[in-house]
Symmetry: C2
Subunit: 403 residues, 2 copies
């Protein structure tokens, strides 16, 4: 392959922001500068929505100091979009690519984004237009196929682990039932991460519920009752995507006129309805006075200062890898492989086909949840612990010997 | 005053936990060890509830390493309580004090705690029992009288300032209306702190609403509409204690069968009802599609790792000061005075009477909110900025020049 300028490149950020999607962006920018095949590097403002409107910025002109701050900033510095381009807008995007001689397309996002990259690549092929289309994985849900884990997950997992450490201490101080609703539509990885900060035998969360393990209201209440009888309190982490024993989202059963996005996903976040419903049930059915519920909401993906160092590093590497791969391959999605032959945590990156990631979601493996479907196993703790940031040592004195 | 052992001391932590109430506890412990007048130092488990049940631990036996971790831990390490002791339980507490020869009582908490200390001191006086009763201030609401500000506020303010930095970046990436409901029943100090991270002209929160400034739904919607027309998005920080133009809590109007605590306070936290109501109104009345609402809930007071260094230092000093004062005075509450003759932020501590703090709440001064009642003034920013921790520098690229 020639080393002269071959064309221009576009990078975009799509779907829900994370704490490290900007680290991936900076990875793409840094690596792109090293390859003379890439003449101009354009940032697509608000992803495909911006490409269709020909709204780009020149990323090679952004200073090193600004890029450093970008890499440390949560959210998506280019702006994001949840638009799913229809055939018409895909054709429009391809026209923009042709007009601007764009030969490399880097799209940082989840499975919907991999799908968009795949559609554009297919259309370009059909039109006989040379395009290198690469997907850089990103999601706090950790629900992409092929990859061992997803950039964005480790930092969100750090946030919820920290939150539950504090929340459990709060619940020790003022005992009762505390319910925390955690993001994760189809996969319980983030909810499971709430358990990563547990140290003492009676540390919460004492119960965890996942989309993969449907649970009836009766079983939920029986679980809570049992923990309360044993400990006099109960901290619960519930995925926003929990399903009733008939497989239907609890949130869907509760909501009137639920909102769906362009990809047909029901809005589960940004509402406290599920948390309030569960709290009401515990109050009414178990006759427990002090019941509180919080829905952690967007803080989980956008709170600054809880980036996991491993997550930042890998997110950046994934961005770089996409550019490297694009120099010799037509398309693909970057994936992470964990190296189990190493004595300590190590990974390598590899390419997988866009179609292997596009539109598919991965569930938590069965061995990560306990038999009852209300907790995590050691296998999960071993899987997730290397991905998160440092957690603080805390102390509670209430169980010291009486005098 | 003699320097020999004079009796034993009790310290308790009351009301809602904070990020630094344990720093105050450690301050009390450290200072108590320096005074031979205090023979044993007992920690009351779950505050007055534990004293009544004679449930104490020996705080002089807790190792330095554990105390270090305690000071860095959120929540209340001794356990807390929201009980308001009635005359009967006050008599019971006094019996325990007499039985255990407790001559010093240190109570870390808000205005209800100052009141409890005051009641116990008065009863002791009436019984001719020598008791030194001191209140150490604590509240994330920052609503105690006399003191310039309250330990606990600076750290909670740091949390919400960080949260809004991230949330505003998130809202830039995926524009729409975002409503964040912030703790603060009667005082808007914490909601106001949401503005402390703003750097760019168009940074959110764009609108802030406080308990001190009643607002009608019509005015609220008109404000949101106006910001959306100008910026294409709107981030709003709303106090859980906002009131309608008739002075009634909005949350109270919405809730069916609201819960009250022993002090007669309505439960405003731990429910998403207000946030969901406001989001629904914006959606329906302004026909805006993407409206999200989060209720930050207990994360504001218990999230680990966002302690403000100034707040930790002052919380500890307040604990120490209470012990020092108790060596020469009968009772009091520790207060903070800001020294305005210094070129940089400095404070001194002083004693005020318990009755000056007990059962009273302070509102935000009028000069901290703007004329419209939907934002903060520079006077507030100057007041609050020295109290919080370091905020990160962030970057957003969406407004870079088009190419």
């Amino acid at each position: 392959m020639s080393k002269g300028p071959k064309g221009n490149a576009v990078v975009g950020q799509s779907g829900g922001p994370t704490a490290v999607i900007n680290a991936s962006l900076v990875g793409v920018i840094e690596e792109a500068k090293r390859h003379p095949e890439i003449k101009n590097l354009y940032g697509a403002i608000h992803a495909v929505a911006g490409i269709g409107k020909d709204h780009f910025i020149d990323l090679k002109k952004v200073s090193a100091a600004v890029l450093k701050a970008v890499a440390a900033s949560p959210s998506a510095a280019l702006g994001s979009s949840r638009d799913k381009p229809d055939p018409e807008s895909c054709a429009q995007i391809l026209d923009v690519f042709k007009k601007r001689d764009i030969r490399y397309f880097f799209y940082i996002g989840g499975n919907d984004s991999a799908n968009t990259a795949n559609i554009l690549k297919t259309m370009a092929d059909q039109a006989g237009y040379e395009l290198h289309a690469f997907h850089v994985p990103k999601t706090i849900d950790n629900d992409l196929l092929v990859t061992d884990h997803c950039p964005g997950y480790g930092s969100a997992a750090t946030f919820v682990a920290l939150a539950l450490i504090g929340d459990d201490l709060d619940n020790r101080a003022l005992p009762g039932v505390k319910i925390d609703v955690i993001m994760g539509r189809n996969a319980g990885f983030l909810t499971a991460a709430c358990a990563l900060g547990r140290k003492r035998d009676d540390d919460g969360p004492h119960l965890l519920y996942f989309p993969e393990r449907p649970i009836s209201l009766d079983k939920f209440l029986a679980d809570v009752d049992s923990v309360c009888k044993k400990l006099g309190r109960c901290v619960i982490a519930v995925s926003e995507g929990i399903r009733d024993s008939d497989g239907v989202f609890w949130a869907e059963k509760l909501a009137e006129g639920v909102e769906t996005d362009a990809h047909g996903n029901i809005q589960l976040s940004g509402t406290g309805a599920l948390a309030d419903f569960l709290a009401g049930q515990v109050k009414d059915k178990l006759k427990i006075n002090r019941v509180r519920a919080d829905t952690f909401g967007y803080l989980q993906r956008s709170f600054p200062g809880t980036q996991s160092a491993v997550d930042v590093r890998e997110a950046r590497q994934c961005g770089k890898e996409a550019v490297k791969l694009a120099m010799k391959e037509d398309s693909g999605s970057v994936a992470i492989r964990r190296l189990h032959n190493k004595s300590k945590y190590a990974v390598e990156l590899f390419r997988t086909e866009l179609c292997n990631v596009a539109e598919k979601t991965r569930s938590m493996p069965a061995e990560f949840t306990n038999a009852e479907g209300n907790g995590v196993t050691d296998a999960f703790i071993e899987y997730a612990s290397p991905l998160i940031g440092k957690l603080p040592k805390t102390e509670y004195l209430g169980s010291y010997p009486k005098v």
